[in-house]
Symmetry: C2
Subunit: 283 residues, 2 copies
């Protein structure tokens, strides 16, 4: 099944999800500490249970979930089997799934990542994938094209909140543009999808100084996957101020602030946090 409209470009499905359910994205990050708080084992069975319960709690309230792949990957093939179940359950429940894997390579190697995550029927099929552009956005061209051909989405790392990232992301390419802005420009230029929202988006931290990174809004709404809301410091009320001309496309991802509620209070916490973003939704 395809969430929020079958055979529509990812950007259009994402727009519908935000319009009907709001811009909160529930992160599925089964940390050791959270697994223990939830009374689950720190193992593949634990992350499976954690993921499935989160999907259940999210499905009636929000439109988007974001499993953090590394927390499943650490349990090897058993962890990936758990992730497959969690993603399938999410998509069956009508949620859009953004696989947060930050893959990045070149040529046929990158194509194999696209085959893994962005191909209908693949065991790890998601609706969108996060990718990393250290090898150049051009090296991701066939992945971006593959995503568009299959009505999938890609979020390319552009500007992140962690302090160690600033030096690289504000470095200047030949024309004096920052790396972050050059990445954003190339990603937006690569989008050939129909619809008022682009299907190719950017990862931009919620506590990043956008001007410092040289990011300027685009004419079309570009989806912005923004981790860093909730426990990491940004609040829903900050969204319009922080993102300015990008605010319309922001997908606000929260993990710890939601997951720390524990399994019994999870639905209530998700509803509570989702409401906080609805005041300013442009969807």
């Amino acid at each position: 099944m395809s969430s929020f409209g079958s055979r529509l470009p990812f950007g259009s499905r994402l727009h519908r999800a935000v319009a009907t359910r709001g811009r909160l994205c529930v992160g599925i990050d089964p940390h050791d500490a959270l697994l223990r708080e939830w009374g689950l084992g720190v193992d593949a069975r634990g992350v499976r249970e954690f993921g499935l319960r989160t999907v259940d709690a999210a499905a009636s309230t929000v439109g988007i979930v974001k499993p953090q792949v590394s927390f499943f990957e650490r349990f090897g093939s058993a962890g990936f089997a758990a992730l497959e179940e969690v993603m399938a359950a999410a998509r069956a429940a009508g949620l859009l799934v953004i696989a947060d894997a930050k893959r990045g390579d070149i040529g046929t190697t990158m194509d194999a990542y696209a085959a893994a995550w962005l191909t209908p029927g693949a065991p790890l099929e998601a609706d969108a994938l996060t990718v990393s552009p250290y090898l150049g956005v051009g090296a991701l061209a066939s992945t971006l094209a593959h995503a568009l051909a299959h009505d999938k989405g890609v979020f390319v790392l552009a500007a992140t909140s962690n302090p160690e990232a600033a030096a690289l992301q504000t470095a200047r390419v030949d024309a004096g543009t920052t790396i972050a802005a050059a990445v954003a420009d190339e990603v937006v230029a690569a989008d050939t999808s129909r619809g008022d929202w682009s299907s190719l988006g950017l990862v931009v931290g919620a506590t990043v100084d956008l001007a410092d990174r040289g990011l300027r809004p685009f004419a079309r709404t570009v989806p912005i996957l923004a981790p860093g809301f909730g426990a990491q410091g940004a609040e829903p009320a900050d969204l319009a101020r922080v993102f300015g001309g990008f605010a319309d496309g922001v997908i606000a991802s929260e993990s710890r602030s939601i997951l720390s509620a524990g399994p019994d209070r999870l639905s209530a916490r998700i509803a509570e946090r989702a409401d906080m973003y609805r005041g300013d939704s442009h969807g």
Copy 2:
């Protein structure tokens, strides 16, 4: 078991491997076309068989193999189960295994990748992992420390051969240093391991212009994982000229040039290619 000396830092084990077996690293890249040429299915069973046969053929001749994770990942959990078997077989045969996964994230997410690939007893345990520094080398600090604490290695993407990478990797950070050089400096500074070879290395393409990327050799031997030999254009005879002061630590990775020999001629082809690097080995 630990290949090339138990309880030695990765850099020392790598040095021993190069000294006794030479600097050729056999890439395990089960492309669709190769799987078909080998008479194998394009599925998890096919990549398992492909990987195990390559390990068998490599084990008596070279010291290092490099599975390309994406070609296994595309088959989901079944592909990872195959990869686990291939890596376990390689390590049991005394080969050093560099998992080419190019993971890159921050904080506890990155720690989970270190748990996945660089932790004794983990299902996907490798001897070393390739990682990507778009979020800053500083964001990888705990992964680098984790690797050193467990006698594992990390190869950080620095300068790659693909033309789309040049703009980003030659961009200048504040002091006028290139991104590639800044990454290299930070990685080398993070290494606290004993031994004459560093345990933290760099990924540098074999057809990169090192001067153009601003890379200057270091006092200590830094392992350089160099894809691009063989089918991609660089030849063993070019190694000293291309890598100059870095040549001592080069791990020359070949994939297609070896794997295209097919399963029956594979051992002979590996021996043939390995010999071509032994003339210039400083090991």
